[in-house]
Symmetry: C2
Subunit: 213 residues, 2 copies
Amino acid sequence: MAKALIQMALDSLDFDQTIALAEQVAPYVDILEVGTPCIKYNGLEIVTALKNKFPNNLVLVDLKTMDAGEYEATPFYEAGADICTVLGVSDKATMGGVIKAANANNAEAQIDLINVSDKKAVATEAARNGAQIIGVHTGLDAQAAGQTPFADLKEIAGLNLGVRISVAGGLNKNTIQDTIRAGATIVVVGAAIYGADSPAESAKELRALVDAA
Amino acid sequence: MAKALIQMALDSLDFDQTIALAEQVAPYVDILEVGTPCIKYNGLEIVTALKNKFPNNLVLVDLKTMDAGEYEATPFYEAGADICTVLGVSDKATMGGVIKAANANNAEAQIDLINVSDKKAVATEAARNGAQIIGVHTGLDAQAAGQTPFADLKEIAGLNLGVRISVAGGLNKNTIQDTIRAGATIVVVGAAIYGADSPAESAKELRALVDAA
C-alpha cells in the first residue's frame, strides 16, 4: 500500500505568513492546502506563488465550491492547482463541473462531505462520477462543538470505493496513525502544526508517525 | 412599503472588467455584488476597490461561507462589505459566526438557501438568530437544468419572518415585477444586465420596472 500523504492546511489570511509557514513545513508534507478563508482573502495569486516556490509539493485549493463548478474551478486548475474541493452539499451538476475542469487540466477533484446528510450516497455517486478524492471533514465550527471525523471515516472507508480518502478535523500526533489504519490515505493537519512552538519540528514528527503507520 | 433594492451580480473573474461593469450600472442599482468566483479569484482587494469607487452603493460579498464563519467574514466586513453571505447548509455555529461578525461591524448577514432541504426551518431559525436577509437562490448550475426560485419565494414570503428577502436565479425584465409582488425586497440581476448589448440601458430599464412594481 502506498504511504499516506500529509496535507498541511494553510489557514492564515496573511499572504506572507502563509508563504513563511509553507516554507517551514514543505520538506515534511506532501500537499500544501490553501484554506478557504485564505483563498477568498488573497485570490488566485497565492496559488501561483505556492506553485512557483514549492515545485515538489502538491497544491490543494480548498475552494469549497457551491455553484458554477466548472467556471469557478477552471482558473485555479489552470494556475497549477493539483486538487480543488467542491462541496458534497452542492448540486450534482456543480460537482460534475469541477470534476470536468480537473480532468481537462490533468488534475483532481475532491468532494468535501462537510455537513452532507447522506454521506454514503454522496460519496458513492461522486466516486462513480469520477471524483478522485472523497473528503471526510469535520469543520472548524463543528470541532469547536466537540465533533470528530472518525465515525464518518469508518463509514466511508467501509464502502471500498477505490478512491482516495482524505480526513480533516483536528488530527494530531495522537490520532494520525489510527486515522491511517482506519482507511485515510490523505491526512490533513492544521493546528497541530501551526499551533506548535516549532511548526517544522511538529511536521517532521508527524511525517515520521505517518511513514511508520 | 420601501421600494425593492436591485442587486447587480458581478460574475466576471477579471478585476478591470468587474470595475468597468460596475461603473456602467452603479447609477441604476443599489447593491454591487462581488460574485463567489470573483472573490475567490481576486481576493479582498476588489472589495476595497468597489467600496472606494462607489460610495453610494452597498457592496455585498457573496462569500457563501461554509465553515469558520466569524473568522472568514470578519476581514470583509472590516474592508467595508455591507452584506456577506453564508450558506444555509452550513452549521448553525457558522451562520452564527457570520451574524456576529456582521453585527460587530454594523453590517448585515444574508443566509443563502441554495440547496437547503428544509428551507422553512432554516429561514425561520436564521431570522430568529438575527440574520437580516434570507436569500432565495436558484444557482447557475440549477438554472441550467431549468429550475427557478419562484416556488421557494412563495414559501419563504409566506412565513412573514420580518426580514428582507433576496431573490436570485435568472431574473429578467419579464419576471422582476412579479418577483417583487410575491415578496422579494431585494432582486438580484446578473445575465439580464451583463448579457445585454448595453448593460447601462438594461439596468436603467430594470430600475424603472422595479420602482413601478
